[in-house]
Amino acid sequence: MLEVESLTTCYGAVRALDGVSLTVPDHSVTAVLGANGAGKTTLLRTITGLVRPVSGAVRYDGKELTGLPVEDIVRHGVAHVPEGRGVIQELTVEENLRLGALWRSDKRDRARALEEVYGLFPALGERRRRSAFTLSGGERQMLAIGRALMARPRMLLLDEPSLGLAPLVTAQILSLLAGLVRRQRLTVLIVEQNAASALSIAERAVILSLGRVAVADAAARVAADPNLHHHYLGF
């Protein structure tokens, strides 16, 4: 379980996160929603240490993550697919994927993980030797997710996976994630501006507004409340 306790992160004088507290229950999908600038990306970046909080703490399965070097986060079972996907386009598809598991010492399991990812994303398998630069947006998202899965994480953090993707592709990827949560007992924290799609696969929803938690409730209730949509989610 991920616990975020009174997290405050500042960029200079701007409080991007202002005392944010939330919990992400295991083996489920939690959606973090909110308008542009609400602090969603900052939340993920603070959890994984790319940005240091001014105060507050992040704990995963009881282990304190705040203050750890970024490269240790994945070793604690937390994989972050950053905003913009972070596909390294100078490398090939397979090199990107292999990179995701390099920190693990079990060579045979690394090879197994690679075959599992190709099984999950056949399109990547077909393009394994191609430069990642040549992939379409949807394929890059698959590559970024596949690469994160190579680490055999227990929790996956996704920052706006639907960005720049066609609705059909978004739906495919999200349903794939929902399937992974069920089959592999994965925990997913998904940040989205596209609230409707994220809510369709989430159990819990947290809405951030101006760096604070405005709503934390079951996703179904959030999806059904038109007032919330209007005030926080822009539809």
Binding site: V70, E71, I73, V74, R85, G86, I88, Q89, E90, E95
Partner: protein, 292 residues
């Protein structure tokens, strides 16, 4: 015709040496976005280590290898202790630090070994070979220079393209933040990058010392030429370092041969100026914008 051949061969040999130093500059630039102004000075220091060992009756090849290893260690130490604090800070900090390191290194060398010229032995004959009935400006030692640099380039290419460490290094160079999220210990990778760059520099220092003699400032002009080579090739490209080195070596050889050796440095600066005006990103830099 004979003169042209001689100048060309001369240019290729020196060009390979510039390529080796330029490769070090490229490795460091790719890893830490810093221009290492002390690259030549560090190489000079390890060459002095070699000459001291040889003077104490250590065999040439053992001294050669020890100097290369000293380069590796020195490069790693410099990154860890001196450069780490200025990584990610404004670029001028790194400029000041590496220039300061260059001054320090030259002063230390002068203090320990004195400022006078020393000769450095070349294991192979430096007498030009005979070809087509005349002696050409290409000696067994020059063959060694070419072979050594090519061997090093091939070894690095294999390291980068076919090993886990190489994959980590490329990832850390192209996308350090993403690499960290994937568990790559980017800090250690940077140290390794500096170590390998210093190794390339040390090799160049050992190869050029027989030609230009050994004294604390002997790598200064080599650095200027290597920097030119790196800019021509594109600071992000190891292949560019090789091509840039050869282009620079040849161009300066022709300038020195046909216009006078005193114009060589001027020639290099003119080339630098032209490249920076016409194609500042160099020959091999991908000019396409980065999408993710």
């Amino acid at each position: 015709m004979g003169r042209f051949t001689d100048l060309t061969l001369n240019g290729i040999t020196y060009g390979m040496i510039y390529a080796a130093v330029a490769l070090g500059l490229v490795l460091i630039w790719r890893a830490t976005r810093i221009i290492n102004f002390a690259q030549g000075g560090m190489a000079m220091l390890t060459t002095y280590v070699a000459v001291t060992l040889i003077g104490n009756h250590i065999g040439y090849w053992i001294a050669f290898v020890i100097a290369l290893v000293a380069g590796l260690v020195f490069g790693a130490a410099v990154e860890r202790v001196i450069i780490r604090p200025v990584e990610g800070k404004p670029p001028v900090n790194a400029v000041i630090v590496t220039l300061g390191l260059l001054i320090l290194v030259e002063a230390v060398a002068g203090a320990i070994w004195g400022g006078g010229d020393r000769s450095f032995p070349a294991y192979f004959s430096e007498t030009g070979l005979r070809a087509g009935g005349r002696q050409i400006a290409f000696s067994p030692f020059d063959i060694f220079v070419l072979s050594a640099v090519v061997l090093m380039l091939l070894a690095l290419a294999v390291l980068f393209q076919h090993t886990h460490t190489g994959l980590r290094m490329r990832a850390a160079a192209f996308a350090p933040e993403v690499a960290r999220l994937l568990g790559v210990r980017v800090g250690r990778i940077l140290t390794l990058g500096w170590a390998l760059a210093a190794l390339a520099g040390s090799l160049a220092g050992l190869l050029v010392a027989p030609k230009v003699l050994l004294y604390p400032n002997n790598m200064d002009t080599v650095l200027v030429f290597a920097f030119t080579a790196a800019i021509i090739g594109g600071l992000d490209s190891p292949l560019g370092a090789l091509v840039g080195g050869l282009v620079t070596g040849l161009a300066l050889s022709y300038v020195g041969g046909y216009l006078g050796s005193s114009l060589e440095t001027v020639g290099a600066l003119v080339i630098l100026l032209v490249v920076l005006m016409a194609r500042p990103e160099g020959l091999f830099t991908r000019s396409r914008p980065r999408r993710v």
